[in-house]
């Protein structure tokens, strides 16, 4: 227990940073993902192509490499300095956006074709077909897999530890490299694992709850 109460300040900072990366990265992923997802189903071929290239390129790049590009590569371009945390958040946001886009696209294709056809048959234009008929139905099927994406995002925040961002997985190095901090690597890492298991369990509970609430019986 000493490993927690002796380092309470560090734990607070680490959990704070993990949640910061998670929430801000999540917001970036959501916004960018919605844009890319929309591009992938749009009637403009070039927009579709751009979306496809973006998704295929980033999805087939390891997250660690994306981090590498942002954290080590960005400072090479001589642009205004950004802290590692900001660059890490951008990296994780851009990476997760591809998964958000794919989930959205999958959600749209789960809506039966007849729905879109019926909507068009009564004369709705594209905008209304999407906002009044397709998206409300797609939204319900999208929520559970979207939660999975965010659970994965939460676990992915640990990659930031390799790029000197002071979040949970980096705690081991911080505590063990300081001479007078209590706790050995095993203790620290086990508690970090416990924190993640608890957070993931909370999110899966929410996911199950939403899934049961919004399930569509077809």
């Amino acid at each position: 227990m000493n490993v927690i109460f002796g380092n309470l300040d560090l734990w607070g900072e680490a959990i704070g940073n993990t949640l910061l990366v998670f929430f801000v990265g999540g917001i970036i992923a959501l916004v960018l993902g919605i844009i890319v997802g929309a591009m992938r189903v749009s009637p403009v071929p070039i927009a579709r192509a751009v979306g496809t290239v973006y998704v295929n390129l980033i999805r087939n790049t390891p997250l660690t490499l994306v981090f590498f590009f942002f954290v080590f590569g960005y400072p090479q371009l001589g642009l205004p300095d950004l802290s590692n945390t900001v660059l890490g958040i951008l990296a994780i946001g851009i990476y997760t956006a591809t998964y958000v886009a794919e989930v959205l696209r999958a959600g749209i294709s789960t809506v039966p074709v007849g729905q879109a056809e019926a909507a068009r048959a009564i004369g709705l234009p594209f905008g209304q077909v999407m906002t009044l008929v397709i998206l409300p139905q797609a939204f319900r099927t999208v929520v559970p897999p979207m939660m999975s994406v965010f659970i994965a995002l939460l676990k992915n925040t640990t990659v930031a530890a390799g790029f000197s961002i002071a979040e949970l997985a980096a705690l081991r190095a911080t505590i063990n490299d300081a001479p007078d901090r209590p706790g050995n690597p095993m203790e620290v890492l086990l508690w970090v694992a416990v924190v993640f298991v608890v957070l993931v369990m909370v999110m899966s509970t929410i996911q199950r709850h939403l899934e049961n609430k919004w399930r569509i019986v077809r």
Binding site: T61, T64, E211
Partner: protein
């Protein structure tokens, strides 16, 4: 795929689409152009920065690092498949004393981030007096995580089979193990093959996490290179990145090909709901949708899980 969403464009829509296309091209060109401009302005294209890649030795080391990456991936893939089978069968067991611990274990393995697991093995175990090579930390970390994800995929595959398959198996006198081995598993594997291969892509990507626990694989070598003469940080990231992306694209291509083949296979018609005209079937390896179809609403962190 989404042509049902809109009509064949008329004159106004064509004009609008053209404007949108121009805007898209302009935005993409602006972003790419800016990055290239900054790279040129900071001298990233000078010969000095690419100098290290003219040495045969450097390329030999890159190939060696590639071998390390593939070595970790190959063993991790085999082990995680084996673990996946064990966990899936354990979780479907009729004995509570097998089912409950295996379920808890699977959920636990899935909830702990891969990197934390690798760190536990690499930094944590020496506390207990066990020294672990980074190679084994990477392999075991990947095995445990991907094994539990594959177990969920296999379980979803088995549970989605019609009840009659199992009953028919028992009716012709097979035992439990026979029903599992000869009736259920072969069908489940065939149905979940795209998901399994997609998960292998994730395993391959996650070998890059070895970089953080000092396993000398590709990315680690990229970091090493970037401290060489001329400090080619972006350059080595591009070269190594291209290798990673090529490997993953090949594996993703296999997954996609398998999915298309599975969808048209007559042997699978039996239990693939309306295989051809099902609007939920779409092109692309989106595992959620497959999980959705097979598992009847069981969404697993699985497909997208890992580093994702």
């Amino acid at each position: 795929m989404s042509s049902v969403l809109y009509d064949v464009p008329g004159p106004r829509a064509i004009a609008r689409n053209r404007i949108l296309a121009v805007v898209t091209v302009a935005v993409v060109a602006a972003v790419v152009g800016f990055v290239v401009y900054r790279m040129a302005a900071t001298g990233q294209f000078t010969a000095d920065k690419w100098y290290v890649f003219t040495f045969t030795n450097v390329w030999m080391s890159i190939f060696k690092a590639l071998g390390q990456t593939l070595g970790a991936f190959a063993l991790a893939a085999v082990l995680s498949l084996a673990l996946g089978f064990v966990l899936a069968i354990g979780r479907l067991s009729e004995h509570a004393w097998v089912r409950v611990p295996v379920t808890v274990l699977t959920e636990l393995f899935r909830a702990v981030p891969v990197l934390v697991f690798m760190m536990l093995l690499y930094y944590g175990l020496p506390v207990l007096g066990v020294r672990m090579d980074p190679y084994w930390a990477v392999v075991l970390g990947l095995m445990v995580y991907n094994g539990s994800v594959l177990a969920e995929a296999l379980r979803a595959g088995i549970e989605s089979l019609p009840k009659g398959q199992r009953e028919a198996g028992y009716a012709i006198g097979l035992r439990k193990s026979g029903v599992m081995a000869f009736i259920l598993l072969p069908q489940a594997i065939r149905a979940m093959l795209p998901v399994i291969v997609a998960q292998l892509v994730v395993t391959l990507k996650d070998t890059a996490l070895g970089f953080i626990i000092t396993y000398p694989e590709l990315l680690y070598y990229a970091k090493l290179l970037s401290s060489q003469q001329g400090r080619p940080i972006l350059q080595s990231a591009f070269v190594i990145g291209a290798i990673y992306i090529a490997m993953c694209l090949i594996l993703s291509g296999v997954a996609k090909w398998l999915e298309i083949r599975t969808r048209h296979s007559p042997k699978l018609k039996g239990y693939t709901p309306g295989a051809d005209d099902d609007p939920r079937v779409h092109d692309g390896t989106v595992t959620e949708v497959i999980a959705m179809q097979r598992g009847g609403g069981k969404f697993d962190a699985g497909g997208v899980g890992p580093t994702l």
